[in-house]
Amino acid sequence: MSVAEKTAGQPETAAPSAPAIELIGISKAFGPVQANKDISMQVARGTIHGIVGENGAGKSTLMSILYGFYRADKGEIRIGGVPTQIHNSDDAIRAGIGMVHQHFMLVQNFTVLENVVLGAEDGALLKPSLAKARKLLTELAHEYELEVDPDAVIHDLAVGFQQRVEILKALYRHADILILDEPTGVLTPAEADHLFRILEGLRREGKTIILITHKLREIMAITDTVSVMRRGEMTATVKTADTSPAELAELMVGRQVLLRVDKKPAQVGQTLMQIRGLRVTDRDGIERLKGIDLDLRAGEILGVAGVAGNGQSALLEVLGGITAASGGSVTLNGQALDLTAHADAGERREQGIAHVPEDRHRLGLIMSFSEWENSCFGYHDRPQYQKSRLLMDRRAMRDDAREKIEKYDIRPPSCDLAAANFSGGNQQKIVIAREVESDPDVLLVGQPTRGVDIGAIEFIHNEIVHLRDQGKAVLLVSVELDEILGLSDRIVVMFDGRISGERLPSETDQNELGLLMAGIDPKEGAA
């Protein structure tokens, strides 16, 4: 069967009543990992269909198959009722499918116009294509509230605008079906609302939209139907109106979820860390932190909420000694920290600041190192791991690793395996064990449960609370509001490199935090 069986972008002529998309028995394996198992689903024309699931549930893989980025091992795809072979993105585009990827697929040093035209040129010469695109772009922009300067270079645009370019790219290719993969991860609630208005406009025009997300709020707000994925399988498809967030959450993780963590009230002690006017400018000259004031007290968990990219990562990295500050001061136990480029992460650890990084693959672990080599990573220069001035004490490193494996129930319990061979949850446990066991005064934690299975989540949350109960201070950064609300004793919200508000978890809710995440303080507004 070939693509030719189906003429591009005209599904309605084939079968008017047929669903826009029909997936039948799709399976896909990456090496030994089964990412999609026998998945079937239908999406009706002119609807918004949500797909929810935890990280690693196989949502992105499924959509990448639909978009021809990966090829399914088994199964059939029907577009508008017609069986369609999608071997590459070109086939998908011909079939009227457009996709907005989680990581934008834009050429950073090209203009908006060039990005839109790329791959959809009319002829061998650029000039006529660009002129035509300019005209069409203006029309589309008016129609769907997608205004963006066609001559702007992508790297000068804010993420929200870059996303519009992605949508424009799909529309320019006459997409009838639009797939959006975690589109709000980098947006403020206000930007997300604007996006949803755009999507509603598209639905009115008869376009079919698939929205991949792990945020239940968005599913409830905008979708008509929703499918739930868990561990590569599709566990349910329901009408959004007939379900509730609690039910969806249960379907996602496979059992009742404990949204609140069991913990005693905090015994808050004196201030351990004092942050005043902290500023960070990154390598590209962009100011990531624009003056942060925070007090971190013994025996409390301070949660930092915010949309990804509003300075939380910069805060963790500057406190952890990875990057230098451009201004401000930080004291720990009354002693000023060296915030210049001369200081490094090793110095911070010496001073009692441990750091569980947001991205354990990129920062927290050396994937090809064995578990025991990872088990002291960052603390490798401590005396207990040295045999002499130059040589390391491998036996001490191994013994130490075995102790941590037992105490933190890391599986499989073998310190000789490479870190890459552990599951996400166990990898995170290796990091948590290492940082917590270093007996720090302050623990910096970023996205502690990202890509971690549900069993390990509870364990990790309990470890964090346990550390707090020992009188240590914890700075918790997470984009999951549930996690922030469940764990924190006090919450600050970050927006655009600043603290936009501070709340007690008992006196706030998701809605209020959502507004703060967009830089709007409802209390100040009322006053």
Partner: protein, 366 residues
């Protein structure tokens, strides 16, 4: 996701790749109209069949161990130091300065100081690309290539301007006097009553083996080696762990350059006993093949260096016996080894991964 046993990764795949390289080399010989098996016999006979052949083989091996280690150490830090050729060439100047100054004394004094001179000059020549990479983000591969050419120009300049024998046209230094002659292997054999044919193989061979041991200790036993490997796998992770990239790049490249420089001891001090323009003769580049084939492990480097020693000595014999196969045959084999064990490695690896995945899934299915 790993699905292959370690031995496949470490031994089987490299072995298949080297086999493929030699298979293609054999086909080339056939294409020229010669018998590859006959050629191989001549090469093995010429390189390993007499104490004379073995001597030369070990002489080449010594140089290749040093240049192989030079590339291997940098590889562990994910640095591709392609500048061994230039670093070894400049190190020759260091050796020559020591030898020309002190050749009225005794080799026991000259050797350690020459080692120091070679190391310092080799390291210095690696230091500039390293610094530019660490501080300014210059691509180290391009910079070290450029430094090879700059080194060649520098060497001509130094020989012509400072070291040339007055009145002579040849761009070479005067011959070192007897006090700078380090013991050859045949001389050392004489100490224990053995009689060997005179070859340029010399005491540097033991320095090379010692260097292998030290490199092994450095990479897998020292704290710096731990940092070097961590940096090689992931620079951001190394920074997270409090390691300083600048320090790691600098020290790694200094060690790498010094190792390349050591080959000047073998050639300039051990063989030529003078400095001339072609003391390195491509050995710096052979180091790339040696490191790739030896999987950047010192033991692998020794084996691969030995193989290339056999090739170079055997190839010279071959060119003598069968003029239709010139010594460039060796260059071709070297290219094939780099190709198959380096850039075409996945040609064997991908099917192997699939094979072992299939075996594993079948085992799990049972």
């Amino acid at each position: 996701m790993k699905s292959m046993p370690r031995w496949v990764d470490l031994f089987l795949i490299p072995a298949i790749n080297v086999f493929l390289a030699f298979l293609v080399a054999g086909l080339v010989v056939m294409f020229i109209g010669e018998d590859p098996l006959h050629a191989m016999r001549i090469m093995i006979q010429g390189s390993l069949g007499s104490d004379y052949g073995i001597g030369y083989t070990l002489f080449y091996t010594t140089s290749f161990i040093f240049t192989g280690l030079c590339v291997a150490v940098a590889f562990h830090a994910s640095i591709f130091n392609i500048g061994g050729e230039g670093q070894a060439g400049v190190a020759g100047i260091g050796v020559a300065i020591v030898a020309l100054t002190l050749d009225q004394t005794h080799w026991l004094l000259v050797l350690p100081l020459a080692v120091l001179g070679a190391g310092l000059f080799g390291a210095a020549w690696a230091a500039v690309p390293a610094y530019l990479n660490a501080k300014r983000g210059s691509h180290i591969v391009i910079t070290t290539i450029m430094f090879n050419y700059i080194a060649a120009a520098l060497l001509i300049y130094v020989l012509n301007t400072y070291l040339k024998v007055p009145g002579s046209m040849a761009p070479e230094s005067r011959r070192f006097a007897g006090g700078a002659h380090i013991p050859r292997l045949d001389q050392m054999a004489e100490w224990i009553g053995l009689e060997l044919t005179r070859t340029p193989a010399n005491i540097s061979l033991f320095l090379a083996l010692l260097a292998c041991l030290l490199v092994w200790l450095l990479i897998w036993r020292t704290r710096f080696g731990y940092e070097l490997r961590a940096f090689g796998f992931s620079e951001p992770a190394a920074v997270y762990a409090g390691m300083a990239p600048f320090r790691i790049i600098m020290i790694t490249m200094l060690i790498s350059g010094a190792l390349a420089g050591m080959m000047a001891i073998n050639v300039v001090l051990g063989e030529l006993q003078r400095l001339n323009l072609d003391s390195v003769q491509g050995a710096g580049f052979v180091g790339i093949a040696v490191a790739l084939m030896g999987r950047s492990h010192p033991v692998g480097v020794i084996l691969a260096a030995l193989l290339f020693g056999v090739l170079y000595q055997g190839g010279a014999e071959l060119a003598f016996e069968i003029p239709a196969i010139p010594s460039q045959m060796i260059l071709t084999i070297q290219a094939l080894v780099i190709l198959f064990t380096g850039s075409l490695e996945n040609m064997v690896r991908f099917p192997m991964e699939r094979l072992f995945l299939f075996l594993r899934l079948r085992k799990e299915a049972r």
